[in-house]
Amino acid sequence: MNVSEYKGVFVFAERRDGAVQKVAYELLGMGRGIADALGEPLAAVLLGSGLKDSEAAELIAFGADEVILVDHPDLGVYMTEPYTKAVVKAIAERKPGVVFFGATTIGRDLAPRVSARVKTGLTADCTALAVEDGTRNLLMTRPAFGGNIMATIVCPEHRPQMSTVRPGVMRKLERDGARKGRVSRLAVEIEAKDRNVEILEVVSEKVARKNIEDSTVLVSGGRGLGSPENFRKLDLVADELGGLVSASRAVVDLGWVGQDRQVGQTGKTVRPDLYIACGISGMIQHIAGMEDSGFIVAVNKNSGAPIFEYADLGIVTDVNRLVPALAEELKAAKAER
């Protein structure tokens, strides 16, 4: 393989229910930096049915030099094989040097299938990407062993270099409506045999859920709270701060709250402006999901809890008595203003 034939950076712009997902803009923000470091163009690849020019315009405003639209009735709802075929075709025609996918339940299904088909490497769940001086190889850094170790992976002799990137880790650019880019369309043939599974039912559950990754304030509870009743009192603090309640894995395993609120290696990566850890000891798996938060407050009765090593402010006290007191203090502070 002549790696020098492969140029440009692709971002797979994930779209669900007719809406481009936030992770696509995050990937464009990060991909812009990689493309600039390489001196090569950045393209968003958008798959769907009935794609609108306005969607392409948004992707350009957030950093894409080009948007490649693949519009086909069979690409409306995610199905592995038609999506694989479309992405593989885009790679075959354009020969990008780098392809990024969001590390979502779609990206982590599609990217391995694509990588096996085009015979290239794939690095999962990256948290940092860079271009190596000299070789111009992509340096893909990811956590391993539950976040205990960070490994930097390269894919020197195969192209494209592919990775999935965790949602919530990269920053999107400021929207710039004046940014120029071009829109092109790519035709893909999808045959009946490519619809090789049958989707019987599609159920959306997002109405009932609030997304902890999107919240600027998280009040997070752990086993140290002692009971589900005490856990629910975190709402008092979250409400005063206009934030959401999240949780450690231990609490999710105990059934006090649903898994969609879980922060950590096996849960979600969050980086709110404020993270208040209540009764969370701070296992490394938890830390991996929240350590990039802007300001971390830890409350725990055990002064030896590892969470204090990561906190900007630590309070050693009875967390269940602090929580209502904190809600009162916050209410009073609000009244002063």
């Binding site: 990588s115 096996a116 205990n148 992976i153 894919c155 630590g314 309070i315």
Partner: protein
């Protein structure tokens, strides 16, 4: 119905610790387990066996001691086991691993292949879909419910914001989520039987695979470097009564203009 379940033996990473002096993983005394997602995939296969009758074969690639994970699977109720073990397989990334497992699957009879979604040591979730691609069969990942209807599986496929119900005809591959069931324990009789069974060990010579596509040299990706995360310097810690603690927090949030 024939089912092959792919399992990986992994260190119990919830117990992994870093040696503060050397900055390396402490492996001594860390128990090895069947990867949790894989174990739930095995349980799902065993439930199908209980309900409708099926032959369940477990397949693992790993060092010789991975035999222990296969013995555990047999003791849970699997019928047969195959271990893929050869120095030539070592150092493989997901692409080379899936190539090797696919080559072994070509030698086995199956209607359905079950993998775990991801292993807790690597967390990549890549090997299942890549095996399916190498075999040229459909796959469904993130499966939280599984049943068989005729010559097909009907599964619940989880997404962040909902789920799909999908029918996939045999032959196909699914990747299982650990939440889908609670794996059974080994039975006493099962343990006894498990140690009477022979587990064939297949090496490179047993597989029809290009040696250039396996192990470290068949891997497109390389680990360039690795490091343990340094902790940022800790902030100030106050040991105070709850009321004073609440007051300090609010004061600091004001200073930082967070409130």
């Amino acid at each position: 119905m024939n089912i092959v379940v792919c399992v990986k033996q992994v260190p119990d990473t919830t117990e992994v610790k870093i040696d503060p002096a050397t900055g390396t993983l402490v492996r001594e005394g860390i128990p090895s387990i069947i990867n949790p997602d894989d174990k739930s995939g095995l349980e799902a296969a065993l439930e199908l066996k209980d309900q409708a009758g099926a032959k369940v074969t477990v397949l693992s690639m790993g060092p010789p001691q991975a035999e222990l994970a296969l013995r555990e699977a047999l003791a849970m109720g699997a019928d047969e086991a195959v271990l893929l073990s050869d120095r030539a397989f070592g150092g493989a990334d997901t692409w080379a691993t899936s190539t090797t497992l696919a080559a072994a699957l070509r030698k086995l009879d199956w209607d359905l292949v079950v993998c775990g979604r991801q292993a807790i040591d690597g967390d990549t979730a890549q090997v299942g879909p890549q095996i399916a691609e190498h075999l040229g069969i459909p796959h469904v990942s993130y499966v939280s419910e599984l049943k068989v209807e005729g010559e097909a599986v009907v599964v619940k496929r989880a997404f962040e914001d909902g789920y799909q119900r999908i029918r996939a005809k045999f032959p196909c591959l699914v990747t299982a989520l650990k939440d889908m069931n609670k794996p059974r324990y080994m039975s006493v009789g099962g343990v006894f039987d498990a140690y009477r069974k022979t587990i064939p060990v297949w090496g490179l010579a047993d597989l029809d695979v290009d040696p250039a596509n396996i192990g470290l040299k068949g891997s497109p990706t390389r680990v360039k470097s690795s490091y343990t995360k340094g902790t940022k310097s800790a902030g100030k810690v106050y040991e105070v009564d709850p009321k004073e603690g609440a007051r300090i927090i609010v004061e600091r949030l004001k200073e930082k203009f967070i409130i």
